[in-house]
């Protein structure tokens, strides 16, 4: 049984020493403040939060690079800061801003090196490598030095490099940064597919709501070292926004609707897009009014974009802080 991640009262304080002339002052910054989390094996989790929220510190403790001030963590049954080298065999990582590929060599050379570093059995390595090359469509670039690859091709190669040893946990830090829309979508699909098919637990940190929406099934929002929100992506969106987007197409020009909590976002002769504050007027009531307003050709009720949810959570957190 592949165990996931268990965190109990994990705390990390950083000691800051300042010198003013010959006088030394020591202060403490609480980066992670008693976090409790359980992530079952195979789950894909987005760990998000504003800069300085404590995401990276948490990830570094989970990979054994940082030792906590107090608390406990178990990753795949290992205590990360005690068993860092052992844990490393089961962990993969992709850092969007830091390459693990050898810049002047084709990706295949890095893959060969990683096979030795992770002590992979040759037949296993070849099987996984070929599968990944095929799935991530790297075949045409396998003989091209990394420096000549496009960013999208390079990032696909980065992800392949981090999956060669079939890690049980994959840490992704801004994996789509700098990619164009298509390359971004491709990479998200591939990560999600690998998560589903191989059962790899995915920890994603990203400022891109699209990454979270497409890759993660659960979102954990961290701020000031605390878990502020933890839930399924859809549930979080519903809970924290309390609004719906209603997109309606009419056969003819509809009558105007004026209801409390309904804001028009765009309006043309045959199409109307509106935001409904469901805490004021239920979406069913608005839908009924729309059907009365004209002959409806098509109607769609959508959740608002995750960016808005995240922005609202962050701003709510700031409001709490200032009050």
């Amino acid at each position: 049984m592949n165990r996931g991640v268990e965190i109990r009262a994990l705390t990390k304080n950083f000691v800051l020493t300042r010198w003013s002339g010959f006088r030394r002052s020591v202060s403490e910054i609480v980066a992670v403040d008693g976090i409790n989390l359980d992530v079952p094996a195979g789950q894909s989790v987005a760990l998000i939060g504003p800069n300085g929220a404590g995401k990276s510190t948490t990830i570094k403790m989970l990979t054994g690079i940082l030792h906590p001030t107090s608390g406990e963590a178990s990753v795949l049954g290992f205590i990360p800061w005690r068993d860092r080298r052992k844990l490393a065999y089961s962990v993969g990582a992709v850092f969007g801003l830091r390459s693990q590929l050898w810049y002047h060599l084709p990706p295949g050379d890095t893959f060969e090196l990683l096979a030795r570093i992770y002590n992979l059995r040759r037949p296993d390595f070849i099987q996984t490598r070929d599968l990944l090359i095929d799935r991530f469509n790297l075949g045409p670039f396998m003989q091209t030095p990394v420096r000549k690859l496009s960013l999208g091709q390079r990032m696909r190669a980065e992800v392949v490099a981090s999956l060669l040893h079939r890690p049980k946990i994959l840490f992704l830090d801004e994996p789509t940064i700098g990619l164009d829309v298509i390359a971004r979508q491709e990479l998200r699909d591939l990560i999600r597919e690998w998560n589903h098919n191989d059962g790899t637990t995915v920890f994603l940190t990203s400022h891109d709501a699209g990454d979270i929406e497409h890759v993660a099934e659960r979102v954990i929002v961290v701020n000031h070292g605390h878990v502020v929100v933890d839930g399924a992506v859809d549930a979080v969106r519903r809970k924290y926004l309390g609004s719906k987007i209603l997109r309606v197409q009419f056969h003819g020009t509809p009558a105007r609707i004026a209801m409390a909590g309904v804001t028009s976002l765009s309006h043309s002769e045959y199409e109307w897009k509106m935001q409904v504050d469901t805490t004021i007027t239920p979406v069913g009531q608005v839908t009924a009014a729309v059907l009365d307003a004209g002959s409806v050709a098509d109607i769609a009720i959508e959740d608002p974009p995750l960016e808005e949810v995240i922005a609202r959570i962050y701003s709510g957190d700031r409001r709490e802080e200032s009050s």
């Binding site: 690079i65 065999y89 850092f95």
Partner: protein
């Protein structure tokens, strides 16, 4: 044990291959060696004309030029390990590297050795062509070359430790570049790169011999032109002491630096 050797050996092999991608750049940089050797040839010709028995520091003019070929090839083949470590610390890349099941020091050592072997080989080829053209060959033997082949890798390892220590200073300093400059000039001046140690004042020579710099540069140079069992023994003892001292220093400094990293982040 075998898998560890394979793992670190493969890092060295990959580094060597990666460096071959720079063939043009390495060749261009090495061509500077030809200019240096030509200038030194002219200088030493004048100096040797003044000498009574045609020998300086126990070497003839051709031997002196071949000594310079080796010391220059060794010095110019040094990869910028200190800059790599400095960047690892400064940019947080160190954290990424620690996610791998590798020793940070051994990983860098393997990489440095791989890079250095390629650069040294290219330098040696260019230097040898120039020396053959200017002064012709010197007497060499398989036994002498074997002794040289023993001393040379230890010299590389010693230089690696020195540069690695300089790089680790980035944990405490804004930049390791200043210390790197002092280190590189120390290797150049006190290691016997331009001038054999015997040319230095008598009072300074014993000090220079116990400093690790001579074991990095002068030892392989002397072993190439004047190999002997006595010199091999002397070189290996000095190099052995330096390796043990450096390894101890590196592990202590790295322990303190990593404790700082583990408790306060990268």
């Amino acid at each position: 044990m075998r898998s560890s050797a394979l793992r670190y050996g493969w890092i060295g092999y990959t580094a060597a291959r990666s460096n071959m991608a720079y063939r043009g750049e390495v060749l261009f940089r090495s061509s500077f060696l030809a200019v240096i050797l030509y200038i030194f040839m002219r200088l030493w010709t004048v100096v040797y004309a003044e000498s009574k028995n045609g020998r300086i520091a126990g070497m003839t003019l051709p031997q002196m030029l071949w000594y310079l070929v080796i010391t220059e090839a060794v010095f110019m083949s040094a990869p910028r390990i200190w800059a790599e470590v400095d960047q690892d610390v400064r940019t947080g890349r160190l954290a990424v590297q620690l996610i791998r099941p590798l020793s940070y020091t051994a990983g860098h050592l393997s990489r440095a050795m791989g890079e250095r072997v390629v650069r040294f080989a290219i330098n040696l080829i260019i230097g040898s062509i120039v020396a053959l053209f200017l002064v012709g060959p010197i007497a060499m033997s398989i036994r002498g070359l074997a002794m040289f082949a023993v001393v040379l890798p230890v010299a590389f390892v010693l230089d690696f430790f020195g540069m690695f220590l300089v790089g680790l200073s980035a944990f405490w300093l804004e930049s390791a570049a200043g210390i790197a400059l002092i280190y590189s000039r120390s290797v150049m001046l006190f290691g016997g790169m331009f001038l054999p140690l015997e040319v230095y004042p008598d009072a300074l020579q014993p000090v220079l011999r116990i400093l690790p710099f001579a074991s990095m540069v002068s030892a392989p140079g002397r072993m190439f032109v004047n190999p002997s069992l006595a010199l091999l023994k002397e070189s290996l003892i000095t190099q052995g002491v330096a390796v043990v001292a450096y390894a101890g220093l590196v592990s202590t400094v790295q322990f303190i630096a990593f404790r700082r990293l583990f408790s306060n982040g990268g």
